[in-house]
């Protein structure tokens, strides 16, 4: 065997040494006038507010575009004027008139007019993309919208809805993403084949909000620049950069080093070790996302309301909230999240194995049954599914967990091929109708429905409750309307196909020199303009 001498071996090793000699020491800190946020931004597929419906996109558009009305950062519970300074509702509940503020300008320099507002709403209806249903529910369609939504003078916007809806519902819709006001002239200057500027607005902004879009680099970053002429004053930080950092471990290291200001995806195992760090502060505040399980009544046993109730008694809500969901979730068992008009702290179910067994026996399932529980693989769905599996077994129900990608699970639910699934829901706008319309619209469970709502997915036929829900949407008296939603929620919680479990808390880790982080309930309220650095 041929061997090299020791000196030759050493020489060869020495040649490899430069690998270990790289050492440019790095001092980390984000620029003083910029906010750098780490989060997963790969859900962004468009930044056109007329079609955008993904969480990151809505959050970004919230900061780019001013809306007709708003819930502002100063008081997140009070509806105030946005682009419009005042509004009136005719007594028939069908005609709404908005007076547009004078002196507002888009970033292009064009004035903000009632015509911009009308056109922005019209294009949502005519394009009828994902968010189109929010406005078409008012009876607007591509043929009538230009008549029913129009500028009656340069500073007056008039809307006519086809049915009398509760004014709060229509007005709340004017605070949502579809009421973002787009610069008509700029958008039309970039129009392609009559697309209302849609393809251009996907990656550009034509706005009058607190920021303008500098660049969206897919899977890399989204950069915004402050609008110094914003009607509520220039934002405190000149630039906001959302960096795509999908891995929580990487987010934590970046935050500890000061290379980012905010980490938006830390899991409990990442949060615990940094909880006491002096340069880091963790803020927690309620969100409005519901986490629930849905039962398909096509799967035999679930057709019996006693079985559905038994299932609800075979979930240990509090144990989950106290352990792996600690701080991030709290028990909430109705379809309206706390913080919403009409919400109620009605939590009737807790783990009760004996009670559940009794109900199962009465329903003809004394030995339980088998069921497939679909859950996506993102945290915390697998843990929730496993906990449900363990406690359902106590009542004799044998649960098999089927894990899959989130879109796969949604596909099963929309196709009604699932038996039971764990899933979450985020409201679309700040009015109880947003959730009621989805969870209680069950007058048509045929194979060709107009929309695949919650009851349709679960094959839960409820024409009476649906009518009740519609009456609540049209009730003009605020007090009465609130009570109607409370009653509706109790019925759905008691008998419905949903096992309501939790409402989320947002847990945000940030550098301790950050001030004014807004405690928004959801993406429509995640404002950047109030954030500053000391």
């Amino acid at each position: 065997m041929l061997k090299l001498s020791r000196r030759q071996t050493l020489a060869a090793f020495t040649a490899m040494a430069p690998l270990a000699s790289w050492s440019p020491a790095v001092e980390a800190a984000t620029p003083r006038d910029a906010l750098v946020v780490a989060k997963a931004i790969d859900d962004t597929i468009t930044l056109d507010p007329g079609e955008c419906y993904e969480l990151t996109g809505i959050e970004v558009c919230t900061n780019l575009y001013d809306r007709i009305l708003r819930y502002e950062a100063d008081d997140l519970t009070k509806m105030v004027g946005g682009v419009a300074e005042s509004w009136t509702v005719e007594t028939d509940g069908k005609t709404y008139t908005f007076k547009i503020r004078a002196g507002q300008k888009f970033m292009s320099g064009n004035p903000v007019t009632a015509e911009d507002c009308a056109w922005s709403l019209q294009r949502v209806v005519i394009m009828n993309k994902t968010s189109g249903f929010l406005l078409t529910q008012f009876g607007w369609n591509k043929d009538n919208v230009k008549e029913l939504v129009k500028a009656t003078s340069p500073d007056t916007l008039t809307l006519v809805v086809q049915e009398a809806f509760a004014p709060t519902l229509v007005l709340n819709m004017m605070t949502s993403i579809v009421a973002s006001v787009v610069d008509k002239k700029t958008a039309l200057a970039n129009e392609k084949a009559g697309d209302f500027g849609n393809s251009w607005l996907k990656t550009n902004s034509a706005s009058s909000g607190a920021y303008r879009l500098v660049a969206w680099r897919p899977n890399e970053s989204i950069t915004l620049e402050a609008n110094p002429n914003f009607r509520l004053g220039a934002p405190k930080l000149k630039r906001v950069i959302l960096r795509h950092v999908p891995e929580p471990g990487s987010q934590r290291l970046l935050l500890e080093k000061g290379d980012i200001d905010v980490a938006r995806g830390l899991t409990p195992d990442q949060l615990t070790p940094i909880a006491g760090a002096k340069d880091i502060r963790i803020e927690s505040f309620p969100g409005v996302n519901n986490f629930y399980a849905i039962m398909n009544l096509k799967h035999g046993p679930f057709a019996d309301v006693r079985v559905r109730r038994a299932v609800k008694m075979l979930v240990d809500y509090q144990a989950m909230a106290n352990t792996f969901l600690k701080d991030r979730f709290f028990v909430h068992q109705t379809f309206l999240p706390i913080g919403f008009f009409g919400a109620t702290p009605y939590n009737p179910f807790k783990l009760d194995v004996e009670g559940a067994k009794k109900l199962l026996a009465e329903a003809g399932f004394p030995n339980g049954f088998e069921v497939k529980l679909s859950a996506n693989t993102n945290n915390p769905f697998p843990q929730i599914a496993q906990a449900i599996q363990a406690t359902m077994a106590l009542g004799g129900i044998k649960v098999t967990i089927a894990s899959g990608d989130a879109r796969q699970v949604i596909g099963e639910i929309r196709g009604r091929t699932f038996q039971m699934a764990v899933i979450s829901w985020a409201p679309d706008y700040f009015d109880p109708h947003t959730n009621a319309d989805f969870f209680v619209q069950g007058a048509d469970i045929s194979d060709t429905p107009k929309s695949r709502t919650g009851p349709w997915r679960a094959s839960w036929l409820i024409p009476e409750l649906t009518a009740e829900m519609k009456r609540a949407a049209q009730e003009l008296d605020g007090k009465k309307r609130e009570q109607m939603y409370i009653e509706l929620q109790k019925k759905v919680t008691d008998d419905g196909p949903y096992v309501w479990m939790f409402q989320n808390n947002w847990v945000i880790a940030m550098r301790s020199n950050l001030r004014g982080y807004p405690k928004g309930l959801f993406e429509d309220q995640f404002f950047y303009r109030t954030i500053s650095k000391t």
């Binding site: 897919p218 890399e220 990487s250 970046l254």
Partner: protein
């Protein structure tokens, strides 16, 4: 002369035929995977909350109402015209996306390959010449580590040590935010573009971001290259010509590094080409940990979003890479092996 030209043309024809066939096979398999995945591409675009009317419209817009074979035919017709379509995820043409993400991967892969080859080959040679002794044991251990250590974990530990604790390198991402948009993209590789623009600070920052993920990928390549080099060298060192060379009085150093190593280059070129190919495919986990917007991450996100145009575009690019590398390694064979040259 005419016979030689005819033979060259035949070879060229055969090559073109195999390239076209490979591409067709690639599109066919990828298209089938995309169509039969349990993810609804319409939901990927319109989301869960869209009305049935919107869902149906997009379903038709995507051509999903056509029979699968017609969809495939339409797709082939489009790419024959150079039209790869738009990506659902990024709202941009797929070609534009690939031009953006691929340079990030090339930059990472090239440095990783350099590390893998520069250190892997000597490591393999040293291991072979010290078979059974400590240098060999060390190399085999390192190879085993490189083979069996999860790259995800290695990346996080690397970040913890070299970025968070020691501060030797920059963190995840390709560049610090303050250096964004300073250098105009020319090649798309930030280090090269910064050098071209004469921006030393940007270059240092980009290199600081690049060095750790490249070293980790390089270490994995090193493990493979070193193991293969060791094995090829052991075979050579058993040959009689080695004994003859030593008997004639040549120094062991020269025998090993010139004669034995010289004889394994053809095999090594194949190993290096394959390594480079797998690095260019993109390293999904490394790109995730290091928030590196390369081809691997792009392909993973496209697959999960059932973004068929993006998946097919990316697959064709990867196919093209392998075909190109095969052709390149054939060329290099001819350079390092006179027999291959003569046959040509």
């Amino acid at each position: 002369m005419a016979r030689r030209v005819a033979a060259s043309l035949r070879r060229l024809g055969a090559l073109l035929f195999s390239v076209v066939l490979t591409f067709l096979g690639l599109t066919c398999v990828t298209f089938a995977i995309g169509r039969f995945m349990p993810i609804d591409p319409v939901i990927a675009i319109v989301g869960d909350k869209a009305s049935q009317e919107t869902y149906d419209r997009v379903y038709r817009e995507l051509g999903l109402h056509e029979p699968v074979i017609v969809q495939y035919g339409n797709y082939l017709a489009r790419i024959a015209q150079g039209e790869f379509g738009n990506s659902v995820m990024t709202a941009r043409p797929v070609l534009e996306d690939l031009v953006r993400v691929f340079p990030a991967t090339i930059e990472l892969a090239a440095l990783a390959l350099v590390i893998g080859v520069v250190f892997g080959i000597p490591a393999g040679v040293i291991a072979a010449t010290n078979r059974g002794r400590w240098p060999d044991q060390v190399m085999r251990f390192l190879s085993l580590v490189g083979y069996s250590m999860p790259v995800f974990w290695l990346g996080l530990v690397g970040l913890l040590l070299f970025y968070a604790k020691l501060g030797w390198v920059e963190g995840p991402g390709r560049l610090d935010v303050m250096y964004d948009d300073i250098v105009a993209p020319v090649t798309g590789m930030l280090t090269i573009d910064a050098l071209l623009a004469g921006e030393d600070e940007v270059f240092a920052n980009a290199l600081g971001h690049l060095v750790l993920p490249a070293s980790i990928l390089g270490f994995l390549s090193l493990a493979y290259v070193a193991r293969m080099t060791r094995s090829f060298m052991l075979e050579q060192l058993e040959q009689e010509y080695i004994l003859a060379a030593l008997a004639k009085g040549l120094s062991p150093w020269r025998v090993v590094w010139v004669h034995a190593l010289g004889n394994i280059w053809v095999q090594l070129v194949t190993v290096i080409a394959l390594t480079f190919g797998s690095l260019l495919e993109g390293a999904v986990l490394t790109e995730t940990v290091f928030a590196w917007p390369g081809l691997g991450l792009y392909m993973k996100n496209s697959l999960f979003a059932a973004d068929l145009n993006a998946v097919l575009g990316g697959t064709l690019l990867i196919g093209a890479i392998y075909i190109l590398l095969n052709m390149l390694s054939d060329l290099v064979y001819a350079l390092v092996d006179p027999r291959a040259r003569d046959q040509g």
